[in-house]
């Protein structure tokens, strides 16, 4: 495996979708390659930063409207 092939397998690796043989060859390559080690760490970091988008607060006006909708739903039960 060369670096160009390894970078395209990184998501399959992270998702646990590589066969045992490919996984072993992948890990063997990574162990001796600074560039691919850095790339893999960057993909993991990218995933972590993307995850922070979930923490964005709900706009107050939207929340208020939804809570009003909830109360009106509750009153019809």
């Amino acid at each position: 495996m060369n670096c160009r092939q390894v970078v395209e397998l990184m998501t399959d690796y992270l998702e646990g979708a590589l066969s045992a043989v490919d996984r072993a060859r992948f890990e063997e390559h990574i162990a001796g390659c600074d560039g691919c080690t850095a790339y893999l760490a960057q993909l993991r970091m990218a995933r972590k930063i993307v995850g922070r988008l979930a923490d964005e607060p709900v706009p107050a006006a939207v929340e208020k409207e939804l809570l009003e909708a909830f109360r009106s739903w509750r009153s019809t039960r």
Partner: protein, 205 residues
Amino acid sequence: MGEASVDSELEALRAGDEAAFQSLVQRHHSSMFKLAMTYVGDRGVAEDVVQEAWLTCLRSLDRFEGRSSLKTWLFGILVNVARARRRKESRILPFASFFRRDDSDSHRPTVERSRFGSDGMWRDGPHSWDNLPESKVLGDETLQHVRSAIDALPSKQREVILLRDVAGFDAAEVSSLLGISASNERVRLHRARAAVRQTLEEYLR
């Protein structure tokens, strides 16, 4: 969240517990809105879609059998509402957006070929971010770059990365919510994450 607390959350909602509903909204609304945007592309319409999904959820709460998690069920409703709205909107809007290049399902390389030598090894390899200050890597400006990178993705990749990495669904749930195969899901996720990494590399260099 464990099974027991999910069940108790469902019970609380059915009993009309407003705090339980508010907590659900606070946890999922941001992901739902972003996902809706991948279908309709207009903030006002996306807000309508999310609101309709919440209302549909409330109205169907008594029929929900709990075979999936409450969260999966909620996002399933959102996807259905958003797709229906897109079909309606596409009858009025010009078709330009449908002709945008979309290589979401291709296996074309995600890293510039020129960065590798003829032997396929790095010529211009990535530089580790380990020595960068964490305040920069995890700062608000970085987040803004990530947001723009995701906004620029073709919608097929955007919906996958939003469900997987923002909403936090596992791979099987994403495939099932979108009705795509596990391998398609991984190809789209790979392209999306690679694009975000590329944007970060340019910013953090």
